[in-house]
């Protein structure tokens, strides 16, 4: 069974933390198509969290097409992305990105500049047909 965690120091609203965790778990293959997410009652007991927060997170995941609610049964992972990334590969990509972001920060780029650069590079890659 999938287990949620909450970081109360992160400043990220709890419902978004749940959404991120499911998204990420699907990306790296910890959650596969057909897996059941914890029932709202189970998540509530696990985390001592407001049930409305869990249902809000599940609604958002449903809206994104990542999960399917089956009334009276539970909420299930709808589909895994075509290519799942192995946890090791995911960690490697993440480390690379962290390194790059630190370099960018050292060079004086703020969040907006980083976002702009990312958008430019993606567009260029798309034009080359590489992305």
């Amino acid at each position: 069974m999938f287990v949620f965690q909450l970081d109360s120091t992160s400043g990220v609203p709890p419902y978004l933390q749940l959404v991120h965790q499911v998204r990420q778990a699907i990306t790296v293959g910890y959650l596969r198509e057909g897996d059941r997410l914890p029932l709202i009652r189970e998540a509530v007991e696990q985390l001592a969290i407001n049930p409305n927060t869990v249902s809000k997170a599940y609604r958002q995941l449903e809206h994104e097409g990542l999960v399917d609610p089956r009334p009276g049964v539970g909420t299930f992972v709808a589909r895994a992305p075509e290519v799942t990334v192995s946890p090791a590969q995911y960690a490697k990509l993440r480390r690379g990105l962290e390194r790059w972001l630190r370099e960018a920060a050292d060079a004086g780029l703020d969040d907006d500049a980083v976002g702009a650069l990312l958008a430019i590079v993606r567009r260029d890659l798309a034009e080359e047909g590489a992305a």
Binding site: T9, P13, E45, P51, T53, D110
Partner: protein, 295 residues
Amino acid sequence: MSAAVVTRGLGKRYRSTWALRDCDLVLPAGAVVALVGPNGAGKTTLLQLLAGLQQPSAGSVSLFGLSAPAGSAQALGELGYVAQDHPVYRRFRVSELLHLGRSLNPAWDQDLAERRIDELGIPLRQRTGRLSGGQQAQVALALALAKRPRLLILDEPVASLDPLARREFLQVLMATVADEGLTVLLSSHNVAELERVCDHLVVVAGGRVQLAGDVDSLLDEHRVLTGPGAGVPDGPGVIHVDQADRHAHVVARIGGAEPMPGWSARPIGLEELVLAYLRRAREPRPVTSELELSA
């Protein structure tokens, strides 16, 4: 969503001092509402007015749209109230407390009360004075829930508990919300610990409501703006300004608007948001011109 609690112009005066004033609140049914504010802010006064333990000096309280006033038998039947430090009669056995509850409450659910006490592993024959603080809190909660209330009011329910007992208390509370969909109003001066349990927030300071609303909407509407120290904006949307030599951080309610040119905006955390309102309440700024906050 229907309202569990509506107050209009609610106020309470002790001699010449207003402990609570001009309080207009609408708390939706099914919400878990955190009432936060410093000590002496008027939190307990507000809770006691809602429970009918005190009579208002001004304004009115309505629970679930009932015309019966707070404190009437009909209103009392709708609510469970756990006072600060969850007092229990210390010389009573747990079973005697349940007997008392059953005798005093028409809608009492004895099975529910016994099952809860049993699940907690608390012996019915134990005198409550010999239970741990966490167990006393759980017994007080079980008693309040056995009334089958639609509104549960808890005054500083976890302040005196150790971290583990705190977590266990909130687990039981949230599981009950999941099972029965009751409305919960709990006060605390520790915001961080409430973030995961509340979906609604009421900030009280100096006897007045400073901020009230749905937590996620409030977080969406507020931003921390950072920009040059000169030309710090002013106006009704500015909640708090931290002024440094060459730059300033501003907590502002900007709705969905973009910040002014030259200013960056980042999302705000719940604790930061509450602090900004509490600091504003402590240092009231003169109302000056209403400059536009957003570009």
